[in-house]
Amino acid sequence: MTTDNSFPQEPHDGEHLKPLLPILDQPSTRRTLLKTAGAALGLAAFGEALSPLMVIPENVSVDEFLQQHYKELTDEDKKKVFARLEAETKERFGADVTITDSKPIPGVRFAYAINVSKCNGNGKCMEACNKENNHHRGVDQSYIRVLEMTKGSMDMENGSTTYDHTVPQDDKFYLPVQCQQCDNPPCVSACPIEATWKEDDGIVVVDYNWCIGCRYCEAACPYHARRFNWELPEIPPEEVNPNQGYLSNRIRPQGAMEKCHFCLHRTREGRAPACQEACPTGARVFGDLNDPDSAINYVLKNKRVFVLKEELGTKPSFFYFFD
């Protein structure tokens, strides 16, 4: 900032230099000095104002910063990434965990159905989800919301998710809602960076290390299925579920989106999703749409089945039925 006050002059333009010099002389030097000092002070203040950002290099390693999208990682890359994440989990949460990468089973297409006649709103599914998926303990986070609905209306307007009394109530029925794993998912279309996509077995997943946290998918989802990590989750070390999937229940970073993934680290290994396993009423039916003998196909063929907000054309893989 030493020359910013002197106006441009042609080097050989002597006749211009002369009359101009007195003007240039005093005030401009003082002003230039002041401006330089001001700029220096401003820059220093700016640096100081932004100093809280210094936690970024502490929390985000160079490897994490440069990490590529999940689909571009080789098996070798994944090994390194998973090892790094396991070490970070040990360091930050004090738990020994194993991160795996279960792949979709070829030919399998998962779907879920809920028997609205059976569900009594006990909320065990939410609890199981919270534990299985290493959710933030402070806010009782879960991928499932159970709506208590008034009999005689399917209008969610008359529902409540914050009921706090013994269940079931005589004049109510219960409608658990979680990610509908749409075949035409608005969240996937919304994402500007392909951080979320639909896998071959129908599950919509998020690469938590690629998401920039713009929350456009959260605005796009008609089922309130997406959650944002407003802060780093807090989980006591002994409560951390050590069996973790990279695209599913590993502890999510602050500032990224997450959602129900049909417990893919379990279901792709042939186990039931945690919410189904925990349900004491038998209201939950989970299975492979491509298997003609599966329970889910029995329900779809023999029960009165409906989906939520069918008019939006999202084509859910999540169904509801009455007995």
Binding site: L20, I23, R31, S189, I193, R215
Partner: protein, 421 residues
């Protein structure tokens, strides 16, 4: 420095030894940071506010978005509200470009650059508003073509990134080129800017249309999911943009003596009269559909205007906006508004405030209330959000001041040159 000395200086400035564009920018920065006591007070206050905002944002990044009052229910708030308004401000400048270039309005031609400067500052503010809304700004590079993974053309957000950055570049080029040519005392070559000016007209429409598509493309949000949203955005932008520019021209007249001819402001007032009327008609049409039909689709509007289930958070906001817009429009239609009067200034301020609320807090927040599962969770911005927002506005004004200072310096120097010649 005496007036005479300043005059000589300005002439000398045009004698242009610096024949490179970076040199010109450096000289311009020097010129743009010269001023009287009032100017320095203004710049220091803006810098201080911008620093408070930067600090608040840094804390937000360190501690997480938990320091905002946004939730999983209302997942966008003040930042995106300001972003939406800012895009309108940027697009509104085109209402000077169209008369100047499509209708060859000579007087408008003289001041059109002010509209372009406003557009530049507004776009920078928009970009910052989106940046501070990101949960992971450190992963910003994921959005960049080639090195990132851009979900184009499916995601409307990628379109928005493209059109906003494109609009910024086009305007930087036009303003920079025209000023540099003036500074060199050369006649600008139409080949180098007229095509870009026409491109900028289409582009201005596109930035606001795409921003509307961002919201109205979401089937799960009935309050936004209306074909009227993009036209309404454009109509209100053609009020807030010109109104802001009229205020800027008035302030320039008072502070720098840069006297714009009277005609451009009058043209802008005529445009505002039409645009605001269209805006209000569309708003009425929207409200009729929402309230007459009723049902779930009208629930957000009911919450916004009258409150719902005991929640009234946005009611004072929206009625303030309606009052501002109606009174402002009334004032714009008074004959007095065509003169350099207080009526005109009051009308501009009222309509800017009205549209800021209507398009910001009055549009973004009710989209989330009730939520998609019909829960009602209210939202009021946190102190951090207000600080960051104030910081972004201050930075925008800082940038605008520097740009205007540069423009008036180059213009004044040229005027003196013709005077002496």
């Amino acid at each position: 420095m005496t007036a005479n000395a300043r005059k000589k200086r300005n002439v000398a400035a045009l004698k242009h030894a610096v024949r490179s564009y970076p040199g010109f920018l450096w000289w311009g920065l020097g010129q743009a940071t010269n001023g009287g006591l009032g100017f320095y007070v203004w710049m220091i206050v803006l810098t201080a506010i911008a620093l408070v905002g930067a600090n608040a944002w840094a804390h937000q990044v360190a501690r997480g978005m938990i320091v905002t009052n946004m939730t999983d229910h209302v997942s966008w708030g003040l930042y995106i509200a300001n972003f939406t308004f800012g895009v309108g401000l940027a697009a509104g400048g085109v209402m000077m470009v169209i008369p100047a270039y499509l209708y060859d309005d000579e007087d408008m031609h003289k001041v059109v650059i002010i509209g372009e400067a406003v557009a530049i500052a507004a776009i920078v503010m928009c970009t910052l508003s989106v940046l501070v809304d990101l949960g992971r700004p450190d992963r910003f590079w994921h959005l960049m073509p080639v090195i990132g993974r851009v979900n184009w053309p499916v995601s409307m957000l990628t379109w928005d990134v493209i059109v906003l950055n494109g609009y910024l570049v086009i305007n930087l080029h036009i303003v920079g080129y025209l000023l540099y040519m003036r500074y060199l005392g050369r006649k600008p070559n139409p080949k180098w800017y007229v095509p870009f000016v026409f491109l900028s007209i289409i582009w201005a429409i596109s930035i606001h249309t795409v921003t509307a598509f961002l919201y109205c493309g979401l089937g799960g949000r009935p309050f936004w999911n209306t074909a009227l949203l993009a036209p309404r955005f454009l109509a209100s932008a053609f009020v807030s943009g010109p109104a802001f520019i009229i205020l800027v021209m008035r302030i320039l007249r008072i502070t720098t003596g840069f006297a714009a001819p009277p005609k451009p402001a009058r043209t802008l007032i005529q445009i505002i009269r039409v645009a605001m009327t269209i805006n209000l008609v569309m708003l009425a049409s929207e409200l009729f559909t929402l309230f007459y039909t009723g049902g779930a689709h009208g629930e957000s509007a009911k919450y916004l205007f009258f409150g719902s289930h005991g929640h009234y958070g946005l009611v004072p906001w929206i009625w303030t906006a309606i009052a501002c817009n109606l009174i402002g429009t009334g004032l714009f239609f008074m004959p007095d508004a065509l003169e350099r009067s207080n009526t005109r200034i009051a009308a501009c301020i009222l309509c800017i405030v009205g549209i800021w609320i209507e398009k910001g807090m009055g549009l973004i927040i009710p989209g989330f209330i009730p939520s998609t599962l019909h829960e009602i969770v209210e939202y009021t911005p946190s102190l951090t959000e207000w600080k960051v927002t104030a910081g972004i506005w201050a930075f925008g004004f800082l940038l605008l001041t520097v740009l205007l200072k540069l423009i008036t310096t180059v213009f004044a120097a040229e005027a003196h040159k013709t005077e002496i010649a």
